[in-house]
Structures are given as C-alpha cells and as structure tokens.
C-alpha cells in the first residue's frame, strides 16, 4: 500500500525566514497522526504546506504518490478538509454555511438531501434546529462540528485538523472521535489535547521547524 501523504525533505521559507526544514514523514490511508510541539514550531505550517498555501523551497510533498504541483493541488483540495480552531462559516446562517461548498461548480451536482444533512448532524451531536441559527450566534465548538459536517457531506477522505477538539465538551469530543474511527478517513492533526494524542496512531514531534521524533502510538 502506498502512502496517502509523504513529505520528502521538505523545507519551507516565507520572506526568507525558515518555517520548516527537511521534514520527512509518511502517512498511510486510514491512519490518524498528530503533530505536537511548542507554539511556533511549524505544526500548522505542515498542514498549510500540504494544502499548497505555503511555498516549498526544497524537497517534495506527495499526495497519493503524486508530487504537489499547481495542477495536483486541486486534487488535494478536493479530497482534504481543513478545520481550524475558529472555522470560517462563509454565510450568515448555519444552513447556508453548511451548503456553501455546493454553490461551487465542482460540487453543484452533489447537493445533499435533507436526510443526509440530518444524519451527519446527528453523528456530530448537533441538533437539527442549529441550521436555522445565525452563524455568529453559535459557539466555536459548534462551528468546528459544522465545518466537519461540511467535510463529511462533501465525502472528503483526508482531514487536516488544527486544534479541533480545543472547544469541545467531553460528549462532543467523543462524537468527533467516533467519526474519525472510520478506517476510510485519514487524519493529520495538530493538537495539544492529550485525549486526542492518545487516540492517534502516530505522534510527530516538531521543534523549530524540524521533525524531531515520529513514533507510532505505544512505541517509544
């Protein structure tokens, strides 16, 4: 089986400042990985690099064994969902926010049914009436789960999560864990949350833009 994501000696610089340096790692389909390290160590930059949002100055990033390029980045973006600490809703009310991607040409023909929407909301412990609420009125944790619901409705298989459990209560966190127990979903995350780290297959340690350690859960 070939890796879903592979970083091969990847270095990233922004305005001549080194952000990532010689990063090497692989992540196979269905694996869940977490990036740990101090603030500013480059954890979020790894996610942004994979999304093609930061310039790779050296090395290559592979997604499904295809090197990241202006052409292939569109495929990465169509397969990956990025969910940050405070996801952008992009619409005034929650229903419009949830259906936002289906306005874009690529997804226009795949608008979900009402049943599919309700099912996804239930999986994420969200009440159906949240759809009627104003996006600005819902909590950070609810926004994260709406963003996650958007990814699930789009059938995304790769999830790039940046501190996604930070605003969740125990019950909601469990719902998110349950969603990601699906072996069809690959996860590359950034998290300080020990519960989250515990549930991931691989833990990568970053320090000042360098990958200092990568260990499978349970190994030392």
């Amino acid at each position: 089986m070939s890796p879903s994501i592979r970083f091969d000696q990847v270095s990233v610089s922004v305005n001549e400042k080194s952000i990532l340096s010689g990063i090497n790692f692989s992540l196979f389909p269905g694996e869940k990985a977490v990036l740990c390290g101090k603030s500013g160590s480059g954890k979020s930059s790894v996610l942004k690099t994979l999304m093609g949002l930061l310039p790779v100055t050296q090395g290559l990033v592979y997604f499904e064994e295809i090197a990241l390029s202006p052409l292939s980045v569109k495929h990465v973006r169509s397969c990956a969902a990025y969910i940050g600490q405070e996801p952008i809703m992009g619409a005034d009310n929650v229903q419009d926010a949830l259906l936002l991607p289906f306005q874009f040409k690529i997804h226009r023909q795949h608008r979900p049914t009402e049943k599919q929407i309700v099912d996804v909301l239930q999986r994420l412990q969200l009440p159906a009436d949240i759809l009627k609420q104003q996006s600005s009125r819902i909590s950070g944790g609810e926004k994260q789960r709406i963003a996650l619901a958007r990814g699930l409705l789009l059938g995304k298989t790769l999830y790039l999560l940046d501190e996604v459990t930070s605003a969740l209560d125990t019950e909601s966190k469990q719902a998110v864990f349950d969603v990601f127990s699906d072996p069809g979903l690959t996860v590359l995350s950034v998290a300080h949350d020990l519960d989250w780290q515990e549930r991931c297959d691989i833990i990568f340690e970053l320090d000042a833009g360098r990958l200092t350690e990568g260990r499978r859960h349970g190994n030392t």
């Binding site: 093609g52 936002l100 991607p101």
Partner: protein
C-alpha cells in the same frame, strides 16, 4: 454669444480674493499661507502650460498628435492608479494600461463617432477634453476597485483559503470581494448621476453654459459624458481586476505579497 474675457487687472483682483480665506485662516491660527501660496502658484503654472499645449493641439489638429496626447494621459493615469492602489507598476502596468485604454478609447470613440459626429473624428476640440474627462473619472474608479479588492483579499486570507479548500476555483473564491470592489468603484458615479442637477450643477455643463452654449445643448453633453464615464469605469474596473488576478496570485492560487507596495 461669446464668453467675456478676464483681463489681467481683473485676474489680479481674482487672486486678491484669496486674501480673505488667507486672513481668516491666519486669525484662527492655521499656518497654511505657504501651502496655499504654493498650491495657487502650481495651479497657475500647470494650467498655463496646459493652455499653451491645448492651444497648439487645437491649432494643429493633427490626428497623430492628438493620439499621442491621449497616450501620454493613459500612461500617466496607469501609473497613478497603481501608485494610489498600492500595487507595483512592474507587475500590473500592462494589465491596467490595457484595461483603462480599452475602456476609455471605446467610450470616447463611441461618443465622438456615433453620437457627436464631428466633421473629423479626431477633432482635438472634442476628442481631447472628452477623453480626459472620461479618463479622469475612470482613474478614480480603478483606484477604488483595485484598492478595495486587494485589501479584502488580504484581510480575508483565511476565508479565501477556506473557499479554496471547499472546492472553489480562484475566481469563485474571490468573487465576493470582486463584486464588492466593483460596486464601490461605480457607486460614486451612480450617486453623482442620481443627484445631478439637484445638489450641484455639473462642471462640464457649467463650463459649456459659460462658454456660450444653450443650456439644453449643455444638458445633452452632460448626459453623454456621464453615460460614458459610467460605461468606461465599469468596463475598465472589471477588465482590470480580471487581468490582475493572473498576476497577483501564484499557480497555487495563493496571493503574492511581493506585488504590493504598502502594508496595511
């Protein structure tokens, strides 16, 4: 009906009027006499030079010379738009020039050839001032369009990235900012058309009336110029922003910070 000339002593009397605001400003403690003096001097010299140039241009009435004058105006406008919008000319000069030139020339040619129909289409008396007025307003609109658009793209960096990650193309992701920028660019012209004649008498119309034209003729010219300003501002704004998208973003659809001259 001829316009009355203003003789030199009367011009001196006119400059003397500036002593009134000058005195008032001095009384309230505003030390602006140097700035005011300098601005009046600059205005006098610049307009005198334009007067000499236009007189020559009108006398010769050569299509190539008229064209060259319009070309110079377009180049100056191009650089001015980019400087005021905070974008580097070495990246955007050609795109902005193409957009502004295409729209201003289209509107001017349409107005002169199809609407006014002078004996010679290149008649400097019509082409030069009309192109100048259309260009001046088009310039304002393009500054607003570019400045608003790129400020919005930079301010909403995360939102833009979210749209891309949700499957939007570059165009789909920037479309909300694009629409807002174009709206802001044409709003002043729309507002001006809405209140025209009620709030103030437009400059061109006043000039024509003072120049001896019948009010009805001045009204028709004012309507013609406003329609052309609206047309060229809209066309130039849309083409300019569209062309700039290929320059301001890299192949990964990420905004290139190096294309801007200022940070906000």
């Amino acid at each position: 009906m001829e316009t009355l000339d203003i003789a030199t002593p009367q011009m001196a009397l006119l400059y003397g009027l500036c002593l009134v605001p000058g005195l008032l400003l001095w009384l309230i403690g505003l030390q602006l006499s140097r700035d005011i003096g300098l601005s009046i001097l600059r205005m006098t010299i610049q307009l005198a030079l334009v007067g000499i140039y236009l007189k020559t241009l009108f006398n010769l009435n050569n299509p190539w010379l008229n064209g060259l004058w319009i070309l110079v105006m377009l180049i100056v406008a191009d650089l001015s738009i980019l400087r005021r919008a905070g974008l580097k000319a070495r990246y955007f000069a050609l795109a902005t020039f193409s957009a502004v030139a295409a729209s201003v020339l289209f509107s001017t040619i349409y107005l002169v050839i199809l609407v006014i129909q002078p004996t010679h289409f290149y008649d400097a008396r019509y082409v030069v001032p009309l192109a100048g007025m259309i260009l001046g307003n088009c310039l304002q609109g393009n500054v607003i369009a570019l400045e608003r658009f790129y400020s919005a793209v930079r301010k909403n960096e995360n939102e833009y990235a979210t749209y891309l990650m949700l499957g939007a193309t570059r165009w789909e992701a920037v479309k909300p900012y694009f629409k807002e920028a174009i709206k802001a660019a044409i709003n002043p012209t729309i507002a001006s058309m809405t209140t025209m004649g009620l709030v103030s008498l437009p400059g061109m119309m006043t000039g024509q009336i003072l120049g001896g034209s019948e009010p009805w003729l001045a009204v028709k010219y004012q309507i013609a110029i406003m329609v052309c300003i609206f047309t060229s501002t809209t066309i130039a704004g849309i083409i300019n922003l569209k062309l700039s998208l290929n320059i301001a973003f890299n192949n990964f659809d990420v905004f290139r910070e190096e294309v801007i001259t200022k940070t906000s």
